[in-house]
C-alpha cells in the first residue's frame, strides 16, 4: 500500500471511532462554545473590546479545543493496547502521522466553522467579502500546523503517565508562533489590509510545512519508543 492509502486508512479509522463515540463533537465543541462566552464575560461586552481582539480569542479557543482533540486521538490508542497493534501493523510511521493529523484537521475544521459562526454572532465581527478566501486559506494552514504539532507531541507522551497534563505544557509554547501569525493574519484581513494579512498567512504556511516535515520524520521513531 502507498503512503497516501495508509494515511487514508488511519484517518478513516480515527474518524469512524469519532463518529461512533462523538466525543469531539459532543464534548470539545461545547467546550469551545463556553470558552467564547467566558471571554465575553471576562472582557466586558459594552467596552467594544471584543471585535478588536476577536481573532486572537478565536485562535486561543481553537488551540485549547485542539488540546482536547489531540488527547482524545491518543487516548483511543492507549485503550486495550491499541498502540502495540498500531506499531505491529507494519504501516509506515509517516503514514500513521499523516492519517492521525488529517483526522484531527477534519475535526478541528468543523469545530472552527461553528466557533467562527459564534465569533461573528457574539463578538459582532465583520469579514469583508474579498478577505473570506484569505481567511479560509490561513485557517486551513494553521489547522494543519496545530494538528501536526499536536500529533507529534501526542505520540511523544502516548505511553507515559501524566500525559494529560504534559500535552498542554509541550504543545502551547510550540504553537505560540503559529497563534501569533494566524491571529495577525485574521486581524489584518478583517481590517481589509489583504497584503499584510497574506504576509502573515505565508508565515503560517511556512510553519505548517515545517511542522508536517518534522512530524513525517519524527513520528515513526517516537511511535517505537512510546
Amino acid at each position: 500500500m502507498s503512503l497516501a492509502s495508509d494515511a487514508v486508512l488511519i484517518a478513516k479509522k480515527d474518524m469512524r471511532i469519532e463518529m461512533r463515540s462523538r466525543i469531539v463533537f459532543a464534548q470539545v465543541l461545547p467546550f469551545g462554545g463556553i470558552v467564547l462566552l467566558l471571554f465575553a464575560f471576562a472582557l466586558d461586552t459594552d467596552r467594544g473590546v471584543l471585535p478588536i481582539v476577536a481573532p486572537g480569542l478565536f485562535w486561543v479557543t481553537v488551540t485549547l479545543s485542539a488540546l482536547l482533540a489531540v488527547s482524545r486521538s491518543f487516548a483511543i490508542e492507549a485503550e486495550h493496547g491499541a498502540l502495540y497493534a498500531l506499531r505491529l501493523s507494519g504501516l509506515d510511521g509517516a503514514a500513521i502521522f499523516l492519517g492521525k493529523a488529517a483526522a484531527i484537521v477534519l475535526q478541528l475544521l468543523v469545530l472552527e466553522v461553528v466557533l467562527a459562526t459564534g465569533v461573528f454572532v457574539l463578538y459582532d465581527v465583520h469579514v469583508p467579502g474579498e478577505a473570506v478566501l484569505a481567511v479560509a486559506s490561513v485557517a486551513v494552514a494553521a489547522t494543519v500546523a496545530i494538528a501536526a504539532i499536536g500529533t507529534v507531541y501526542g505520540v511523544l507522551v502516548a505511553g507515559i503517565r501524566a500525559r494529560e497534563t504534559l500535552v498542554p505544557l509541550l504543545v502551547l509554547p510550540a504553537v505560540t508562533p503559529l497563534l501569533l501569525a494566524a491571529s495577525r493574519s485574521f486581524e489584518y484581513a478583517i481590517d481589509n489590509d489583504l497584503s499584510t494579512s497574506l504576509r502573515w498567512g505565508s508565515l503560517v504556511g511556512v510553519i505548517a510545512s515545517v511542522c508536517v516535515m518534522v512530524g513525517v520524520v519524527a513520528f515513526g521513531p517516537l511511535l517505537e519508543e512510546s
Binding site: 511523544l156 505511553g159 504534559l166 502551547l172 508562533p177 501569533l180 501569525a181 495577525r184 515545517v210 519524527a218
Partner: protein
C-alpha cells in the same frame, strides 16, 4: 578517583574565583553608566546569562543529536543534554528576572513586548516542558527525550522570527527607543561584560559536569536496583 575529585575541586575553585571577580568588577571597578546609572550593573549578569542560556540549549540539541546518531550513542550524551537544559532553564529564568528588574527604572515598565524578551519567555516554557518530559523517565526514554530536544530547538528560530516580525510591525513604545541601546564606551565596562561571559561559561561547564556525574550515578543505581529485583524474583544472583 582522587585525580577526578581534585580536578573537580580545582575547576570549582576557578569558577568561584571568576564569579567573585565578576562581583568585584561589576559592583566596584566598573563605573556607573552615564544614562542608566547603577542599574546598568545588572547587565553584567543579565547579558551573560542570556548568552549562556542560548549556548546551553544549543548544547542540549547537539548532545541529543549525538545520542540519536547510532555511532556516537552513549548515555553520557543524554546526561549532558539533561544537565545543559537544566542550566539553560535556570539562566533563562535569571535573564527574564534581571531584565525585568533592569527594565523598571530604565524603560519605566517591568515588561516590554520586545522580540528578544518574548522569545526568551517562550523558550523558558518550551524547555520547562522538555524537563518535565525528562523527569517522567520510563523505558527507552532517552531516545524520546533526544527527539523532543531537537524538536524544541527547531522551534527556537521560528519563535524568534515570528516574534521579531510581530514587534517590528508594531509601533515602538516611547520608552523603548534608540537611546536605550547599550553602547559600551568604557573599557572597564566592556571587560566586566566579557568577564561575566567567561565566569558564566565556567559555571555552566562546572554545573553540567557535576550534574552529569549525578545523573550517571542515578542511572547506575537504577540498573543495580533492577538487577537486584530480577535476582530476588528468579533466585539467580546477577
Amino acid at each position: 578517583m582522587i585525580a577526578s575529585w581534585l580536578w573537580r575541586r580545582w575547576f570549582g575553585i576557578l569558577t568561584l574565583k571568576a564569579l567573585v571577580a565578576l562581583a568585584v568588577f561589576g559592583l566596584v571597578v566598573a563605573p556607573p553608566d552615564s544614562e542608566q546609572g547603577d542599574a546598568a550593573r545588572l547587565l553584567y549578569v543579565h547579558v551573560p546569562a542570556a548568552w549562556i542560556a542560548y549556548l546551553a540549549f544549543f548544547v542540549t540539541a547537539l548532545a541529543s543529536a549525538l545520542y540519536l546518531w547510532p555511532r556516537t550513542r552513549n548515555d553520557s550524551w543524554d546526561h549532558l543534554a539533561g544537565a545543559s537544559a537544566e542550566f539553560g532553564v535556570l539562566c533563562t529564568g535569571l535573564t527574564l528576572f534581571l531584565g525585568s528588574v533592569w527594565g523598571k527604572p530604565i524603560w519605566g515598565t517591568w515588561w516590554q513586548w520586545e522580540a528578544r524578551l518574548t522569545t526568551t519567555a517562550v523558550l523558558l516554557f518550551l524547555y520547562l516542558g522538555y524537563l518535565a518530559l525528562r523527569r517522567l523517565g520510563g523505558v527507552s526514554s532517552q531516545r524520546r527525550n533526544a527527539i523532543a530536544a531537537l524538536i524544541a530547538f527547531i522551534d527556537v528560530p521560528i519563535v524568534h522570527f515570528s516574534v521579531s516580525w510581530w514587534t517590528s510591525l508594531h509601533q515602538q513604545g516611547s520608552v523603548f527607543n534608540d537611546k536605550m541601546d547599550v553602547t559600551i564606551n568604557d573599557g572597564r565596562m566592556a571587560f566586566t561584560l566579557w568577564l561575566g561571559a567567561g565566569a558564566f561559561t565556567l559555571l555552566f561547564a562546572w554545573c553540567c559536569l557535576g550534574r552529569m556525574r549525578l545523573l550517571g550515578i542515578e542511572s547506575k543505581n537504577s540498573e543495580l536496583e533492577l538487577e537486584a529485583a530480577i535476582a530476588q524474583r528468579t533466585g539467580v544472583p546477577s
